[in-house]
């Protein structure tokens, strides 16, 4: 039996929330809405949950017929990325291939990080990546301006020591493997460059 949910006259995001609740409770349902934005949002949400959505229109009223997908709905859900975004720099270049190109790319990337949004919360530098954060680095200016924007820069102390660069740190704070591991594990998203 189909359940019918009347979401007419409700403001966004209520129709979507009602539809989501109905899908979570299982089975098929019909959501009735009275505007195109709500219709589109409900359809999109249904598809993101692995369901199919069909729309019937009449006199400014849209009936969205939602049919649960074959697969378990729960398994379709992707983990939300709640928590900080962390970008890690294991190298002083971006990608593998040509070293000179990789150096240009990382300079472009760090410049772009300052220009785009959303911004990451933390940058972590280790192994040769620490060379980006020391005096004489071409990207020092970019890193300093990211710090001014409130982004945390963790620089691996072991690595600075290994390369003999501890005295030359020009951006970020010297960090240890416990901080680095904790920051990665409590992140919503870790992006490796």
């Amino acid at each position: 039996m189909k359940r019918e949910i009347d979401a007419r006259g409700l403001a966004c995001p209520e129709p979507v929330m009602l539809a989501k609740k109905a899908i979570d409770e299982g089975g098929n349902c019909v959501i009735v809405v009275d505007n195109e934005a709500a219709r589109d949002n409900v359809c999109r949400m249904a598809k993101s949950q692995g369901c199919t959505a069909k729309v019937e229109e009449g006199e400014g009223i849209f009936s969205v017929y939602i049919t649960a997908g074959g697969e378990s709905i729960k398994s379709k859900e992707t983990a939300p990325s709640i928590g900080p975004t962390v970008v890690v720099f294991p190298s002083d270049r971006m990608g593998h291939g040509d070293d000179e190109l990789g150096e240009i790319l990382i300079r472009g990337f760090l410049y772009a990080l300052g220009e785009v949004s959303p911004k990451p919360d933390t940058l972590i530098f280790f192994n040769a990546g620490v060379k980006l954060a020391v005096q004489g680095s071409e990207v020092l200016e970019d890193l300093n301006s990211l710090e001014e924007k409130g982004i945390t820069l963790l620089v691996c102390g072991t690595c600075l020591d290994f390369y003999g660069l501890k005295e030359k740190l020009g951006a970020g704070i010297i960090s240890n493997m416990y901080d680095i591991a904790e920051t990665m594990l409590s992140a919503g998203k870790v992006i490796r460059i």
Partner: protein, 75 residues
Amino acid sequence: MTSENSYLVALFHSTSGALMAEKLFKREGIAHKIIPVPRHISSDCGVSLRFFASERERVEATLAGKVDIQNICPL
């Protein structure tokens, strides 16, 4: 519009052109920065060299006959 501190970007036909230009900039001591080609100029994935507008003549003279500049645009 062209104040002392405003920036221009030099675009090149290739990434290697931009790299060669950067080497010449370094040799001449021209303050510059390698940046991705700004979106409002082109959606291509390329790199460009940003420099102070006041350095335009020196930039052009430095690169003349060595690296072909595709275009110079305001940032």
